[in-house]
């Protein structure tokens, strides 16, 4: 099998098919690695932009009273922070990782639809340019929260809401095309003998994520289209005056919104399922159960949406159904956490930066999962609803969940991308600063939330002052630390110890069989995987020849 890839390492051969020079390389590229890099850089820019909005929010909340910004602008900051982080930072980061790694992991030469890949990336700058430009329009940008509940986002919305709707349409189209590409790549371009049950879990989780995207992004497009029609064409989907119902908005939105939260976490599950075995030097425990658990989570995500709206007045049977269905999600998620812990159990563990982020992911995501269970209890949710407890919950699943998963992936695969080892000391500093900052920022939010502090409010009762100051200090620390990450990545691209093809001795997978940095074209002749055992045959990952 190793003979297959030898000719790609040959420099002279590579030269003729190397990247074009200058700007047109990036504008016109159909190479999955280039597009993956662009997605990752785009997502990092969005992360810094959305993060700086979070800094504005935390600066205002540093003390009670209004000091820095007015409530109108504060609302725009909370809204844009959420939208940019969800649609601009987390989702494109995972699409970037998918672009880079899925072809390498399944032995494919590229994505199945390379030109559509280029288009789906370049829609994103257009979409976010449009979205961010609304901040400079008369009347300001979206100020109705990232969930844009009607009628706040229809009857009472600023004029710029039309641009917001169009931006959502564009990023939705981009996500759908990206998802179709991922499905087509995984189902059609696997190397011979690479059966589904031989795929790394990152590929599995992305396959399932892509189906979720294909199923729910059109519903999001539908709901913003209804808003558009209500605002401009006189329909009354969400207007009671014409026989519509604002609560309908919440149902349709959360039918999209709940699978969306799994879209943001499942690929992280997959990446962590590669990283933990690599640094435990053991095969992943329970590969098959991981696959089925992911499928179960994806299925359950479609039947729990109303747990976001327990307080709108749904019938008791409805509350019970959604409460129990939500709690049921803890079962497959528990299977996953159990498998990660069992993988580490009696392993030869080392704690390089990817492992540190992955272990923190397991611990902190579990905390976020537990607060999710608390919120799932319908009668208790009446107390927690729209308080900082909710903010604490979803930041615990998204920051140490999705974001730490992305950091872990970045450090794990940076040697493969750049051909250099990153600076381990700085990376560990990045981890510890992020870990401490993130917990300082979000843990106190549990307490102020339980005590009744409402979310999306620029001012608060004096009794919440101390915890909010701690939160703000932690948030500033977390935010500033991300500049260190930028520095580490740039330093790694520009130089550092040369990375071998497989820099992590416990790592498994086809991506480590190509040289570092990965050549511009890989696996033009597919590797033969037919003599490699399936994970379920019990021997674990012997995917590396």
């Amino acid at each position: 099998m190793s003979a297959v890839i030898d000719d790609h390492g040959h420099v002279g051969h590579d030269h003729h098919h190397g990247p074009a020079k200058g700007l047109s390389r990036w504008l016109l590229t159909t190479n999955h690695k280039d597009i993956g890099s662009m997605y990752l850089w785009f997502s990092f820019c969005a992360f810094l932009l959305g993060g700086s909005m979070a800094m504005v929010i935390r600066a205002e909340l540093f003390q009670p009273g209004l000091q820095i910004v007015q409530p109108e602008f504060f609302n725009q900051m909370t809204t844009m922070h959420g939208l940019i982080m969800v649609f601009g930072a987390v989702m494109p980061a995972f699409v970037g990782l998918a672009n880079w790694m899925i072809p390498l992991m399944i032995g494919a030469p590229d994505m199945a639809l390379p030109r559509m890949n280029n288009f789906s990336f370049w829609l994103l700058p257009a979409a976010f340019g449009l979205l961010v430009s609304t901040l400079f329009m008369e009347g300001g940008g979206p100020n109705f929260g990232w969930t844009f509940y009607a009628p706040l986002s229809t009857t009472y919305a600023p004029e710029s809401v039309t641009f917001f709707i169009f931006a959502i349409h564009l990023m939705g189209i981009s996500s759908i095309m990206g998802a179709i590409n991922v499905v087509a790549t995984i189902l059609n371009l696997r190397a011979p003998g690479m059966t589904l049950m031989k795929m790394p879990l990152f590929v599995w989780t992305w396959l399932i994520t892509a189906f979720l995207l294909i199923a729910v992004m059109p519903v999001l497009a539908g709901v913003v289209t209804m808003m558009l029609m209500d605002i401009h064409f006189g329909t009354s989907f969400f207007s009671a005056a014409g026989g519509g119902d604002p609560v309908l908005f919440q149902h349709v939105f959360w039918f999209f919104g709940h699978p969306e939260v799994y879209i943001m976490i499942l690929p992280a599950f997959g990446a962590v399922s590669s990283i933990i075995p690599a640094f435990s030097r053991k095969p992943l425990f329970g590969y098959t159960s991981m696959v089925y658990a992911t499928g179960a989570i994806a299925f359950l995500s479609f039947i729990v949406w109303a747990h976001h709206m327990f307080t709108v007045g749904i019938p008791l049977t409805g509350e019970l159904f959604f409460m129990y269905a939500t709690m049921l999600i803890a079962v497959p998620t528990g299977v996953k956490v159990f498998n990660w812990v069992s993988t580490m159990w009696r392993g030869s563990l080392t704690f390089e930066a990817p492992m540190l982020f992955a272990v923190a992911f397991v611990i902190l995501f579990t905390i976020g999962g537990f607060s999710g269970l608390m919120l799932a209890i319908a009668p208790a949710d009446f107390q927690y609803h729209d308080t900082y407890f909710v903010v604490a919950h979803f930041h615990y699943v998204l920051v140490p969940g999705a974001i730490f998963g992305i950091f872990a992936s970045a450090y794990y695969w940076l040697p493969k991308w750049t051909g250099h080892m990153y600076d381990e000391t700085l990376a560990k500093l990045h981890f510890w600063m992020s870990f401490i900052g993130m917990n300082l920022a979000f843990f106190p939010m549990h307490f102020v939330g339980l005590a009744g502090m409402p979310r999306r409010i620029p001012d608060y009762n004096m009794m919440f002052a101390n915890f909010n100051m701690v939160s703000s200090v932690g948030a500033f620390m977390f935010g500033a630390t991300q500049l260190l990450f930028l520095f580490i990545v740039i330093k790694c691209i520009r130089g550092g110890a040369p990375a071998p093809a497989k820099p992590w001795d416990g790592a498994e997978g086809l991506e480590w069989s190509v040289p570092s940095p990965a050549p511009y074209h890989t696996f033009q002749t597919p590797p033969d995987m037919s003599d490699v055992h399936e994970h379920r045959k019990g021997t674990g990952g012997e995917l590396t020849p």
Binding site: L187, A215, V219, G222, M226, G243, L248, P315
Partner: protein
Amino acid sequence: MNEALSTRRLVRRLVFVVIGMFGFGFLLVPIYDVMCQAFGINGKTAGAYTGAQSADEARAVRVQFLATNAAGMQWQFGPQADQISVHPGATQEIRFVAYNPTDKPMTAQAIPSVSPSRAAAYFHKTECFCFTQQVLQPGERIEMPVRFIVDRDLPADVHHLTLAYTLFDITSRQPPVAVNATSAPAKESLQ
């Protein structure tokens, strides 16, 4: 190439799924309406009730009335009584009064809602001004009747319920037919 062909077929299928789910988003609208009316979700009441029931003299339920103007609505709008006591099964009538203080003819639509929402399915309106739109000339005032029956099967632990109307200005959507002010007929009731 076989691979390209199967990719094309797969993409076509996935695009159908995308279009289907876009349609499903809109399909949720009628589904939601049907579910709301079937289960009385969100305080939604059904249309005109045609049945009749005998009064349950042994039981009395307090029905409270609320009238609210939606944002921008300038009419004066309110019930003639804040609350009445009714026997389940008996037909009751209450009148709401609306007055247009502006100098323009206006159209309004009232939207009812019943609390607690699980009682909504047991609150039947045999006649309601909310079934139609109201047009008031400048300075005109009308009394609008609501006839209703509280179902005998109302759960025993519900002792009072609230019928709330929100009045919306829909003049821009349904421009009122201009009526000659001198020959405006006195309206006894709305059709």
